[in-house]
Structures are given as C-alpha cells and as structure tokens.
Symmetry: C2
Subunit: 117 residues, 2 copies
DNA sequence: CGTCATGTTTCCTAAACACTACACATTCCC
DNA sequence: GGGAATGTGTAGTGTTTAGGAAACATGACG
C-alpha cells in the first residue's frame, strides 16, 4: 500500500550515505514541503503528495517522475492531456496494448520515433 | 468551459424528442442522481460529475464513455491503471504519439490487434 | 556539556469535490 | 381545470485532498 514511502525513503537514504545534504529536512526544504509532512510521506502515514510535489521529489532524488507518480497512484497530467484530446483513439490503443509484451510496445515506440508513417 | 453540459443536454434532448423517458428527471433517476444536480450539470452550473456518474450517463445516453469523460476533464481509471503498471513504457509511447496524425495511431491499433508481434 | 541538526508526533485547516434536500414555477395532457 | 410531470433555484452536507505549525525526542560532535 505504501510502496511510495518506502521507495522515496530508500532513494533518499542511498543519497544521504554519500552526501549529507540529503537529510529529510534538507530535501523537504528544497522541494518546498514541511519536514513533518515528508516524514509522514516516507513512512506511509499519509497519502502520496500532489502531482507537483511528487515531480519535484522525483527530480530531487534523481528518479523517473512517471515511475514515482505511478507509485503514488497517479498519471502525469500531460499524458492525460494527450489522451483527452483524442479520447477514442488513445483509449482504443491503450486497451489494445494492455496485454502486449514490453518489447512489442518498445518496437512501436521506435517505429514512431523513426517517423515511418 | 462547459462543453460537458451542452454535450449532455444536446444528446439527451435528441433522445427525448422521440422518447419521453429521456426527460431530465427520468434520466437522473436512472443514473442515480438528483434531478436538480443533473440540471445544474447540463447548464454548466457545477463541475462535471464523478467518473462513475459520467460513465452511467454516457451509457444512458448511448455515448462513448471515454469521450464524455474527456469532456469532463477526466481519463478513465482503467486506462490509468494500464499506464501505472508500466509507467516508463507508456509514458514514452504516449509522448511519442502526441503529435502523430490520427491515421498513424489507427494503423498501430490495427497492427496490434492483428497480433503481429 | 551544550547546541545543532535530525527525524517524528500531534493537532489543525482551507479548499475542492460530489453530491442531496426541497421548495418553486411552469407545462403537459386527459 | 387539476393532477402529474418537467426543469430550476437555493441552501447545505459529508468526504477527500493536500498540506502547515509547532512542539518533541534523539543523536552528533566540537
């Protein structure tokens, strides 16, 4: 349930070992939340923070924002925007890809990036 | 701003012309909300309803749920679930497809459906 | 030893979300 | 013309979200 907190705590402590600027308090200050709040987040005492705070936290801890958002039960709003602009199309695509293996999706990504349409 | 309300009102009134079971009150009753609430929704006096209510409304009015959700500023939670399970992969894919033309996405949908991986 | 920084605990809250309750005026229609 | 049904207006409610404030206990260390 609190994958999020553990993940953040682990990532932060890993950085803290080599650099004491990664104390809970200092990280909290840099991402703009109260230490008490970050403490509760790390121990899963409260729900994961807002999208904005999650993204700042991910950057601070050098983690992938989409992954951290996912752990927080969220999907980046810029992705949602893309879907909301063409809902039928993207809904169909995503549902189709639900069971596709990773490599198939990666292949598509590459195809699209190499612009072969 | 209130695309949603207009869309619902239009769809409902179109049905109501031929079938008086599609009065605001009866539709409200069938989808399980108060008439006053649906009235305000249709006139954009309140924000679009929850995901669940939106889906019931779409079904009732024979509309595409993903489209109606999009008008309400939402993305179906089952799509979000798919993304949240493989955030990196889907984030990459969707951002890549952001600017792709419709036909290119449709082609991918077809390719995937015809299971050629 | 003192003080500085660290992590934690308790209590509180402002705003947003998702509605309900119910009275009211109007229109349908038999 | 009178009851039933329709749409609307006003007010208020419970819940969730996303935190802040401040005090507390613990340890580091110069």
């Amino acid at each position: 349930m609190t994958q999020f907190g553990t993940y953040v705590n682990t990532a932060r402590r890993r950085l803290q070992e080599h650099d004491r600027r990664y104390s809970l308090r200092q990280v909290a200050r840099r991402i703009g939340v109260e230490p008490g709040y970050l403490s509760k987040i790390e121990r899963g005492q409260v729900a994961p923070p807002s999208e904005a705070a999650t993204v700042r936290l991910a950057k601070e801890l050098d983690q992938d924002a989409d992954v951290l958002l996912a752990l927080g039960g969220k999907v980046s709003s810029d992705l949602q925007d893309v879907i909301r602009k063409r809902p039928r199309l993207f809904a169909q695509l995503i549902r189709e890809l639900k069971q596709a293996p990773d490599h198939a999706i990666l292949r598509i990504v590459r195809e699209v990036r190499d612009g072969d349409w």
